[in-house]
Amino acid sequence: MDRELTPSESLRIIETMIGQAKSSFSRMSTYFLLWGVLLIAAMITTYMMRDSGGAWGQGAAWGVVGVIGGIASWIIGASQSKKEPVNNPMDRIVGWVWGSFIITMLLMIFCFGASHRDPGAAIALLTALPTFLTGQIMRFKPLIFGGLLFWVAGVIMFFSGNAAVITATYCIAMLFGYIVPGYLLKRQEDGLRTA
């Protein structure tokens, strides 16, 4: 370890170690899997109960999964932050991207709700942004593709007046935009931990 380094050896060490540090993102797959499943469940519940006239048909499922997902995410985040071996500046940026998304989404739900309009298509379009950015920051193509898919889904949902089409479009976007990338990301994260 203490022998004299040549300049090219030094450069190789620097490049290798910087590369290793760059790939040290916190685990994020759990959030995509959790929210993907919860939001599909909420969408299907709302569709199935749409003619019931009760609170579930009015979208109460979104509120329920929002609370469940929010609490679960908070617990997972608190637990993971204690275990993470590094503080990566990119994690902080990704965190702020999703934080901004949540604030904007809640404000949109409030504004759309107050004007008795369905926020679904607008939220799908908005979801594209953090998903796409996270994919780009992490250089993880399935999430980049997921972001693009949410943009397409948002446009389809906006122009479609058919509840079945809107539900199917949203669920497909969630499946391939959140759950599949989340699963692939989990495999990658597990691989890195055991490598």
Partner: protein, 98 residues
């Protein structure tokens, strides 16, 4: 042409690896550095101490899940030294290195 002398604190395989890892991070735990550098605990601990004594690293000792945890981050002095080291290395390589 005279070359800039290489910083003896950084011109060491393990110390350079530690600083290179930390340059892109806010902070990293001892075990992370251990895993990425492949060093032994003893050697890593010695080299971290040398970097700390040179003022290149800030070392925080805390508890994580009830276990002692050492967290390291690069200081402003360490970053400046690393940048000067990289510049010097590039100068050496720019003229052909034997």
């Amino acid at each position: 042409m005279a070359f800039a002398p290489l910083d003896p604190v950084l011109h060491n395989q393990l110390r350079l690896a530690i600083v290179s890892l930390l340059v892109g991070l806010d902070s990293a735990d001892f075990n992370f550095l251990l895993e990425k550098t492949g060093a032994t605990r003893g050697n890593l601990s010695v080299q971290i101490t040398k970097l700390k004594e040179a003022g290149y690293l800030t070392v925080k000792k805390t508890f994580k899940d009830n276990y002692p945890n050492t967290s390291c981050s690069l200081s402003a002095k360490g970053l400046k030294a690393f940048e000067a080291y990289v510049k010097a290395i590039k100068e050496y390589l720019g003229t052909g290195e034997g």
